[in-house]
Symmetry: C2
Subunit: 400 residues, 2 copies
C-alpha cells in the first residue's frame, strides 16, 4: 500500500509540473495532502517484530526469550536454545492443535508442520486461537498468519489437505520424511507428531504413518460433551499403538460416520485440554503393545524393540554409572529448591502385566484371560437355569 501511495504522489507531482495553469495547482496540492494522510494511516498499521538470531538470556523487557531462557538458569532445562533444532508436526488445527501450535511457537520451537483441510468458521470462536476476521480462511493458513506474527523465528509449513485421502496421506508421509530443516536428524524429519484430530479414522491414519516411520507421537481427544478428554503417548514398539487397544468403534469395524446423529453438534469449551473437568480426575496408566496387534508395522516395531533390549539395558547401566561417578549428590546446591521425582514414584499401572488399575478406573470389558477361561462342566450342566439367571441379571441391569 505504501508503495502505491508513493507512486501516486510522484504521478501528482509530474502532472502538476505539466500543467501550465496555476489554478489547477491548488487542487493537486490538496490531493498531495490526502496522499500524505493516507501514507500516515498505512504506516501506523502494526509492524512485525524482527527475527532474532540467537536466543538471549538478557533480562530486558525487549527480549522475547528472557522468561524462557530463565528456565535454563534455574536448572529446569539444560540447554533451552536447543528447542530451535526441533520440528513438531501437528495434525488437526482445531481447539487442541491450534493452542499446542501457539504454545510451541511462543516457546520458540524450530519448525512447525500444520495439517488440516478445514476452514475457519464463526462456530469455532468458542475455542481459543482463531479470530472472527479469519472466517473463510483455511485453518492452516490462518494459523500461519497468527503464528508468524507472534514469532517470526519459527519455520512454519502449512498443509491444507486431508490425511485420510490417498493423495493427502502421500504428502503427509513425504513431509514427515523431509530432512532439509535438520539433515543430521535421526529417524524421520520431525521429532514429535501431535494428533489433535476429532475422529478415529484420522487417528488410525496418524497411527499407520507413525508406526511405518518409527515416529513417537501423542494422541489427544476431547469428549462430545466437552468436559473430559485424554492424552496418550505412543512410542512404536515400546507402548501400545492406537490399533493395539482400539476404542470399540474401531475394533468393531463400524463406520463412525453412521454414528453421527442428525442435527447434533458436539459441545466444546475453551478450557478442556484432556481430563475429566467435572470430577477433577486425571488418572495415568501405561499400556504395553499388543502382540496380536492388527497393524503389521506395529508388530515390526515390537520385534525391533525386543531385539534391542540387551543394548538398551547396557546403555542405561553405563549411563547410571557415569552419572553417579561424575555428579555426586544431585541438587546439592539447589538454590531454587527444585526437587526431582523418580518416575517410579508416580501412580501408574500396567493394565496388561498386572490386574491393578489406577484408582477410580474400572474395566469396561473382561480381560482376554477371563474371556478365554475354561468353564467347568458343572457350570454348564443346566442350560435352562443359566438362561433364567441371565434373564434375572438383565432385568436387574434394566431396573438400575
Amino acid at each position: 500500500m505504501e508503495v502505491e501511495l508513493k507512486e501516486m504522489s510522484s504521478d501528482l507531482e509530474t502532472l502538476k509540473r505539466s500543467l501550465p495553469d496555476p489554478s489547477h495547482h491548488a487542487s493537486i496540492d490538496k490531493m498531495q495532502l490526502r496522499v500524505q494522510h493516507l501514507t500516515n494511516l498505512a504506516e501506523s498499521a502494526p509492524v512485525r517484530r524482527s527475527k532474532v538470531k540467537d536466543m538471549s538470556a538478557e533480562v530486558v523487557d525487549s527480549n522475547p526469550y528472557s522468561r524462557l531462557m530463565a528456565l535454563q538458569r534455574m536448572g529446569i532445562v539444560q540447554n533451552y536454545e536447543r528447542i530451535r533444532e526441533f520440528s513438531v508436526a501437528i495434525v488437526g488445527i482445531g481447539g487442541v492443535g491450534s493452542v499446542a501450535a501457539e504454545m510451541l511457537t511462543r516457546c520458540g520451537i524450530g519448525r512447525l508442520l500444520l495439517y488440516d483441510y478445514d476452514k475457519v468458521e464463526l462456530a469455532n470462536m468458542n475455542r481459543l486461537f482463531f479470530r472472527p476476521e479469519q472466517v473463510g480462511m483455511t485453518k492452516t493458513d490462518a494459523a500461519v498468519q497468527t503464528l508468524s506474527d507472534i514469532n517470526p523465528d519459527v519455520a512454519l509449513e502449512s498443509y491444507t489437505l486431508n490425511i485420510t485421502t490417498l493423495q493427502g496421506f502421500e504428502t503427509f508421509m513425504s513431509s514427515l520424511k523431509n530432512k532439509t530443516f535438520c539433515p543430521s536428524e535421526e529417524g524421520s524429519g520431525v521429532d514429535l507428531v501431535l494428533s489433535c484430530v476429532d475422529n478415529y479414522e484420522a487417528r488410525m491414519v496418524v497411527n499407520q504413518a507413525c508406526n511405518e516411520l518409527n515416529q513417537t507421537w501423542m494422541e489427544s481427544g476431547v469428549s462430545e460433551d466437552a468436559v473430559s478428554g485424554h492424552i496418550q503417548l505412543l512410542v512404536p514398539g515400546e507402548t501400545a499403538c492406537f490399533a493395539c487397544a482400539p476404542p470399540l468403534v474401531v475394533a468393531s469395524g463400524v463406520d463412525e460416520r453412521t454414528l453421527k446423529r442428525e442435527g447434533v453438534c458436539a459441545a466444546s469449551l475453551p478450557t478442556t485440554m484432556g481430563y475429566n473437568a467435572l470430577k477433577d480426575f486425571f488418572p495415568t496408566m501405561e499400556m504395553k503393545p499388543n502382540p496380536q496387534c492388527s497393524n503389521a508395522a506395529c508388530l515390526e516395531r515390537q520385534k525391533e524393540y525386543i531385539l534391542a533390549k540387551p543394548a538398551r539395558d547396557a546403555a542405561a547401566k553405563a549411563k547410571e554409572k557415569e552419572v553417579s561417578a561424575i555428579e555426586g549428590p544431585v541438587h546439592d546446591d539447589n538454590e531454587w529448591n527444585i526437587s526431582v521425582v523418580d518416575d517410579s514414584e508416580l501412580v501408574t499401572a500396567d493394565i496388561r502385566s498386572s490386574d491393578a488399575l489406577p484408582e477410580g478406573l474400572v474395566r469396561e470389558l473382561p480381560s482376554a484371560d477371563e474371556f478365554h477361561k475354561p468353564t467347568s462342566p458343572q457350570e454348564t450342566i443346566n442350560p435352562v437355569d443359566d438362561l433364567e439367571d441371565l434373564r434375572k441379571q438383565l432385568d436387574a441391569l434394566n431396573a438400575d
Copy 2:
C-alpha cells in the same frame, strides 16, 4: 481510509473535467486506477463480526455459540444463556489473567472488568494472548482490543491502575460496587473476582476488598520456576481468607521487594496454569477460616456465616426435599452417559479439623496446638543435654 480514497477519486474526476487538454486525461485515468486498487486493498482489511442479540443453539457454521449452547442440550448446564448476566473482575492481565479473560470472552460472559497498570513488552510473548504489535500499549487496552474483536457481545471495562495505591484501591472498590450492568444483582456488582497477580501485596489488597464486599474470589499463582502453581477459592466467612493462612513472606512482615534478587527474572511458560507440572501432582484441600485472622473484615464475615447457619441448614433441607419430590431418580434417561459425582467423594482434607493432609503434602511448620504443647518438667531438666541434642540434629540436617 475508504472515505479518503472516495474523496480522492472525486477530486480526480473534477480535475479531469476542468482540464481542456486530453493529453492530461491519460495521466489522471492512471491515477484513478491506482485509487481503485487502493480502495480494494483497504476493503479487504478485516471486518469485525456484528453483535448477536440472542444466543442461538442452531447448528450452523456461522453461529458463534452453537458449540456452547450444545452444553445445555447435553445437560451439562441448565440455561447457558444466563452467562450473559454475569460480571467477572480480573485483577492482573498477565499470563493467567489474559487467558482467563479470553476463555470467558469466548464463552460469551456478560461483562469483564480488567485491572492492570503494566504495559505489554516483548518479554511477555512467551505466554499466550498478547501479540508483538501490541508492545507499548497498556495490558488492559491491548486486552480490550483483542477481546472485543473476538466477541463484540461482551461488555469490556479497562482499568489501567495499580490497586495497591490509595487512589487505585478507591477506583477498584467503586468499580466492583457499580451495579449499572445488572441492577438486580445481590451483593457487589460482580459475580466473581479472579486474582491473577504476581505479588503478595496485590493479593492482600484483593483479599481486603473481597472481605469488605463479602465477595467470592479465586486466587492463582505460578511459581518462580514456572513448573508449578496453585488455585484457591475464597468465600468470605466460609473458607480461609488470604490473611487467615498467609504465606511466610506475609506472615513475617517482610517487604517482598527486598527479596527480589538482582538480575533475576522469573521463568514462565505458556503451559503452566496452576499445578505441579513436573510431578503431575495437583492435590486439593479445604481451608476453614482462622478465628484469629488479622483481617477485621474477615472476622465480621466469619461471625455472619456462623449466625446464618440455622437458616442455611433449613434452606438446604427444603431444597433436598423439593428436588427428590419433583425430579425422581437423577439422569434416568441420560442419553449422553454423563454421571455426576458427589462432592464428598472427592479427595479433600480439612487441615484444621483433622490431622489428615492429602497424599504427598507435608506440613512446613508445626500446628498451633503442637507449638503451644506444654513441655513436661522432665524434658527441660538438663539444658546442656538438650543443646547437645540440638547440635546433633542440626549436624544431621546439614549432612543431608
